[in-house]
Symmetry: C2
Subunit: 229 residues, 2 copies
């Protein structure tokens, strides 16, 4: 992503990286972080955190690189460590997806299962929405967990008066059984279990556990700052 | 496609463009065409057909361009017109997918619902297989009908002794209801109906109607020749 020809027109783009970046962003803001700045490049994230005095969070290969204050683990986010702090986040796919979406001009939110209801309410107010899956390999490969979470969100929108499901991805979302259970059956969930991070899967599948809507309020080349709206 | 880093290693790649290129290729060979040469570029297809004395088939925007002998309509393939002939085929997405797959070195077959059982038997003999969806927009956008047909094929492989489903796409294939019915609920099926081509959808969803396995036997830059194996 973005697709060839750029993003289709939309008023709101909901970026989904349910394992784990958008889940972690909701957890950070729900625990009192002032802001989360998603940064697409690891070195740029380190420099921004140092210059701003922010906490540095994220992962490479699923684990926090040396010198990071926090990983990308929603289960490990505690109020004591993040309340009142700004956080800079770098992850392998999710932060790139957010910064690319932010470059498109629409309102961009970070959506996950933990904030499903609030995100759905936000999308219902818009005329045209895109649910964008972060995926794998810089957005070029399919990630089952993101599709499953996007399907939950698409289904949550369907009762809206006048809602029209147009894209083939949304049509498929209607046809799958147990989207929430699919998150834990993805290849990436297997990798997290092998890393001992199964508690993150439990948190990531807890519907409405962190009822905040992280929304991009400022962005530039390779970064996007989100606050709770 | 191909994905970043090229195709993963596989012994056989099954390319799926169920609406309609791979369905049409199976129909042409089942009706007695000697070969079908998929060509990625319209002008190159015209030149090849002229120089070889082949029939020229295909579509742009769903319909045969001026000067083409045949469209890309499996329902319109009749024995009288193609028996004993070589056919050159150009279509918007499917022929490009086939020629790109052929460049990867694996055995490449054209798979669809009309030849599902025979294709599954071919894949069961291989150690590692890829089912590649042609998709839309040169393979960068998701097409529900191709995913649905790929899901039928992936499910047909699962009873094999030792079969392991590893990719997230194949995991999702297990979780959808009525994959055959999804083909007709895709956006592209809607477009075909608007063009008056609903009979092609009926043919494309007729399981095992054309029990041939089109396999690539020669290829070069932007072309791949298939015969019935």
């Amino acid at each position: 992503m973005p697709p060839i020809g750029g993003w289709p027109r939309a008023d709101v783009v909901a970026v989904v990286d349910v394992l784990r970046a958008t889940t972690t962003i909701a957890a950070l803001l729900a625990h009192g972080a002032l802001s989360v700045t998603a940064v697409a490049d690891e070195r740029a994230a380190r420099e921004r955190a140092r210059s701003e005095g922010s906490l540095l969070a994220g992962e490479v290969g699923g684990l926090p690189p040396p010198g990071f204050d926090l990983g990308n683990s929603p289960a490990a986010v505690g109020a004591a460590s993040v309340r009142g702090r700004d956080v800079v986040l770098f992850t392998t796919n999710g932060t790139r997806a957010l910064t690319q979406a932010a470059a498109g001009g629409a309102t961009v939110i970070a959506a996950a299962a933990v904030n499903l209801g609030r995100c759905a309410a936000k999308l219902r107010d818009a005329d045209a929405v895109i649910i964008a899956c972060a995926g794998e390999q810089r957005g070029t490969a399919f990630a089952l967990e993101d599709f499953a979470a996007a399907a939950l969100l698409a289904r949550a929108l369907e009762p809206s008066p006048g809602a029209r499901v147009l894209g083939d991805g949304a049509r498929l979302a209607r046809a799958i059984e147990d989207p929430l259970g699919l998150i834990g059956r993805s290849g990436h969930a297997e990798t997290l279990r092998q890393l001992g991070l199964e508690s993150d899967i439990a948190v990531a599948t807890a519907i409405d556990r962190f009822p905040v809507v992280p929304v991009v309020v400022a962005s530039g080349d390779g970064w996007a700052r989100l606050v709770s709206s």
